[in-house]
């Protein structure tokens, strides 16, 4: 079953006085099935962050539709968007975006508190989750007291606490050292194995090679896509590298 359907998505930014306009997305279409682990790759300015913002309903598209479980996101009223995001989507950011005024525990619980869930339910959901992510011992620390890797784990826990239909990750390994990156990617692998739908925007070939499928974006259009199929991760890494080289070469010609 298709969880996410993206159809002819366009986004044009116009400067305030209507002078210059920049087309960030020029008609992107793809679908993501439930349980699929998808990576989106592209150079800076290729439109991948815009794509993520539109999928996250943080930004409205100029044209085209995004459907989550068949529901057109454009039909969600502005006032309900926040609640819609909270109930359906989980976010992992490059810069973690944990709030310094909350402990790690409270940061993870934040979406539940916003959704008005009971304090008992929070404990029930929190404990297995943090055990799985290995951050059970830092719950009472503040974000500025723990390492980057731990922060990102906490951010992942926050994204997962309400069991979202889709987890969106924006360069999740971008601010991490290689060891922490490996750990995070392993966690993503586990999540994908457990059937969690993931969509990750990344620069890193290594991160992308963990996904089941990689979409390449360039100048606002879907340029290419690869499926891992039965390949080993190493082999898939090679294929992605080749594709990127091709992408870069094609860019020079175009």
């Amino acid at each position: 079953m298709e969880l996410l359907e993206v159809e002819n998505l366009q986004k044009t930014y116009t400067s305030r006085f209507g002078g210059q306009s920049v087309q960030a997305l020029a008609g992107v279409s793809f679908t993501v099935e439930a349980g699929q682990y998808t990576a989106v790759m592209g150079e800076s300015g290729s439109g991948k962050t815009t794509l993520l913002n539109v999928l996250a309903s943080l930004d409205r598209p100029t044209a085209g539709t995004v459907r989550l479980e068949g529901r057109d996101m454009a039909t969600v009223p502005e006032a309900e968007l926040a609640a819609f995001r909270r109930d359906n989507l989980g976010f992992v950011f490059q810069e973690f975006n944990l709030l310094d005024t909350f402990t790690v525990r409270d940061n993870i619980c934040l979406p539940m508190v916003l959704a008005g869930r009971s304090h008992k339910e929070m404990g029930e959901r929190l404990l297995p989750l943090v055990r799985r992510l290995g951050i059970g011992d830092i719950l009472d620390k503040y974000p500025y007291e723990v390492s980057g890797g731990q922060k990102q784990h906490a951010a992942v826990a926050r994204a997962l606490i309400l069991s979202p239909k889709l987890v969106l990750a924006d360069e999740p390994t971008g601010a991490l050292d290689s060891k922490s990156s490996d750990e995070l990617l392993r966690i993503f692998d586990d999540l994908a194995t457990a059937g969690q739908t993931l969509l990750m925007v990344t620069h890193s070939v290594k991160a992308a090679s963990h996904a089941g499928r990689v979409l390449f974006i360039k100048d606002g259009v879907l340029f290419h896509q690869l499926c891992r199929g039965a390949d080993s991760q190493e082999r898939f890494y090679g294929r992605i590298s080749d594709a990127l080289t091709l992408l870069a070469g094609g860019g020079r010609d175009a």
């Binding site: 006032a79 926040a82 909270r86 709030l99 005024t101 508190v113 916003l114 304090h119």
Partner: protein
């Protein structure tokens, strides 16, 4: 490096950061000017001539110095946080700790030169202007030097010390940080909030002690002699330190307790507010405490000086039951009836229209009980009693009416019969107490319209004369008699004048007539008196200058509080911008986020105001007592003035808050940093 490099670099630094440094320099200037002006008010050569006022001004100067130190340290902390990246960059570019210290030293020098120098100049100028304005308002000559050397030195020393302290704090902070820390400190710099029970408890204890002193002292005043101004100062210091400790530690401790209460904490509204406040209070405690202290000072000064001024008319009426009061006495035989009637005829002839005329004789004597004198009696002649109260009484010679207890009284060998009893609150007692100013003289009794412990005794005029002669004969010398007893009987004449007639001139006329027609000056003739017009003018001058002082200091302190609130909104705006963005992404809708952050900020802003109201309420009984020193006994008027000042202050505070909140709103809604 080339000569003159640091002075120029330091100047550039200040110029580049002028958005933050201009208000800071203005603050230093204003604080120094205010401090100087307050110091001159307490100077022996200054315009506040009364000793008590001067003492209070000195107290205020000390408090203002403390507050200024705290305030400048706080604003400096804010400035340095914003400049962390700049210093980090200098360090990365190769400036050593010594270099940075030299840079800071030059910056301090400029701050001192502009802030302190400008402040002293402004202070001297405004001081002079204020004096001139006061002189014009009160219609009196105001002396005093143009510059108060001692006060200038004091101000320079105090602010020099404060700026030097700030320099050391900054030098230590910058010197011991690694460049990387300096550069990232702007965003981090958070400390884990901890419950500090000891400081919180100490704060509670200090505040409790201050409150207790303020509330208990007035009751104890009746039995123990207390230096009320000193007590007030001690209470003020206790409350200031208590407020600081409570804001620093108590608030965070309390909030952390709230956080432990999970059923409360994990609710959408409380969750964000409590956790936000835990951090916000920890960082802003000093600023909030200063706002609170300043607000309290404004409330106390404005309410008390306004109520002095507002109570002026009732003070005049209390001290002068009739608008003109003339008092004469002599040991020689005198035809008082002819003399006083002649005087009144003269007054009428001069075009005055006296009304409610009262004439009476007054004499104080003690009761001789078994050879020992005890108990004071205030004798009033029967005709005077009838004139004052409008009641009719009939007394035979040798009979008295008294508020005292015994049936027959022996006064130095002369027996008097008590023909009846007067109630202790007899209107004549109140009238005499006011007219003689007995209550006001005796602080211990405090109430103006009583005979301050004396018993009222009414007898006919001849009996009083006979009694006086007896006592006079029994005593060998005046010395014995003057031992608390009236050497002579006072003859008083009191009357009102219609509005517009000069009470002072009229009184002078009566006195002159009596003096001119009283031929024997050898026999210890005395005259005295009081009139509403002169008293009003005198009080107007005293209270007017106090009111001016109160309003001036109120404006000064309110300005300080307004600047502080502006700083707070500015710094919090920058912090909240990032928080706001993250919360939105995680699923808090914009409306809710805005409401939550607003309510937090407004709570933080209004907490000091509420605490200040609390302080004012606790201080009320003590200040009420303190006002008695200046003859203000009307608690009702003081309460009304306090409420009015509190309402006016709350309105002004709210306006300042609303204005600065707009700045805050602009910052939060502006383009946020990539969070």
């Amino acid at each position: 490096m080339r000569k003159g490099f640091y002075p120029r670099l330091a100047w550039e630094c200040l110029r580049k950061n002028r958005r933050f440094y201009t208000p800071y320099l203005i603050t230093v200037m204003g604080a120094a000017a205010g401090f100087y002006m307050l110091a001159t008010a307490g100077d022996p050569d200054g315009f506040a001539d009364a000793g008590d006022v001067r003492l209070i001004m000195r107290m205020c100067t000390v408090v203002l110095g403390l507050v200024c130190a705290g305030f400048l340290l706080y604003t400096n902390g804010f400035l340095m946080r914003r400049r962390g990246r700049e210093f980090g960059l200098y360090a990365v570019l190769g400036m050593t700790r010594t270099n940075l210290t030299r840079l800071l030293l030059w910056e301090t020098a400029y701050t001192a030169l502009i802030g302190l120098g400008g402040g002293l100049l402004l202070g001297a100028l405004f001081d002079r202007l204020l004096l001139l304005l006061l002189a014009r308002l009160m219609g009196v000559q105001m002396g005093g030097p143009f510059l108060y050397g001692k006060c200038l030195l004091l101000t320079a020393a105090a602010f020099g010390a404060i700026l030097l302290l700030i320099f050391f704090v900054n030098a230590t902070r910058v010197g011991f940080m690694r460049p990387v820390d300096l550069m990232t400190r702007q965003s981090a710099g958070d400390k884990v909030p901890r419950a500090r029970w000891l400081i919180a408890m100490a704060g509670l204890a200090l505040l409790g002690a201050g409150y207790a002193i303020a509330i208990v002292t007035p009751a104890r005043m009746e039995s123990v002699e207390i230096d009320i101004i000193l007590i007030f100062f001690i209470a003020v210091l206790l409350v200031i330190f208590g407020t600081f400790a409570l804001f620093l530690a108590g608030s965070v401790t309390g909030l952390l307790l709230l956080r432990r209460w999970k059923g409360y904490y994990y609710k959408t509204r409380h969750f964000i507010a409590v956790s936000g406040l835990i951090h916000r209070m920890g960082r802003n405690a000093a600023g909030l405490a200063i706002i609170c202290v300043l607000s309290t000072a404004v409330l106390v000064m404005v309410s008390s000086t306004v109520s002095l001024y507002a109570g002026l008319e009732s003070h005049v009426r209390r001290s002068c039951p009739r608008e003109v009061m003339c008092e004469f006495s002599s040991e020689a035989e005198t035809n008082w009836d002819a003399l006083l009637e002649g005087a009144m005829a003269d007054v009428r002839a001069a075009g005055y229209h006296p009304e409610n005329l009262v004439r009476y004789r007054y004499w104080e004597c003690s009761w001789d009980k078994e050879g020992v004198s005890s108990g004071y009696f205030a004798f009033l002649d029967a005709a005077g009693y009838e004139a004052i109260t409008g009641r009719e009484i009939s007394l035979k010679p040798g009979q008295i009416l008294t508020t005292g207890q015994a049936d027959s009284l022996s006064f130095w060998g002369m027996e008097l019969d008590a023909a009846g009893r007067l109630e202790p609150d007899d209107p004549a007692a109140a009238y005499l107490g006011r007219s003689m100013g007995l209550g006001g003289i005796d602080q211990q009794y405090g109430k103006p319209d009583t005979l301050a412990g004396r018993d009222l005794a009414v007898a006919d005029g001849d009996t009083i004369e006979a009694l006086w002669r007896t006592v006079r004969g029994r005593c060998d010398t005046d010395q014995d008699l003057s031992y608390g007893y009236g050497t002579t009987i006072d003859h008083l004449i009191e009357f009102d004048l219609p509005a517009g007639e000069d009470t002072h001139a009229c009184r002078v006329l009566v006195e002159r007539y009596v003096v001119d027609h009283f031929y024997d000056m050898e026999t210890g003739f005395r005259s005295g008196g009081r009139d509403a017009g002169s008293l009003r003018a005198e009080l107007m001058e005293n209270y007017g200058s106090l009111l001016f002082l109160g309003l001036f200091l109120g404006a000064l302190f309110l300005g300080g509080a307004a600047l502080l609130i502006y700083y707070k909104q500015l710094s919090e705006g920058y912090e909240d911008r990032a928080r706001f963005a993250v919360l939105e992404k995680v699923g808090l809708d914009e409306r809710m986020a805005r409401r939550s952050i607003r309510s937090q900020v407004s709570l933080v802003c209004f907490l000091p105001l509420l605490t200040a109201f609390c302080h004012m309420a606790a201080a009320f009984p003590l200040v009420d007592q303190l006002l008695g020193i200046w003859g203000m006994y009307d608690t009702g008027v003081f309460a009304l003035c306090t409420l009015a000042s509190a309402a006016a202050f709350a309105a002004l505070y709210g306006a300042v808050y609303a204005l600065t909140a707009r700045t805050y709103g602009k910052i939060v809604q502006g383009p946020g940093p990539a969070a």
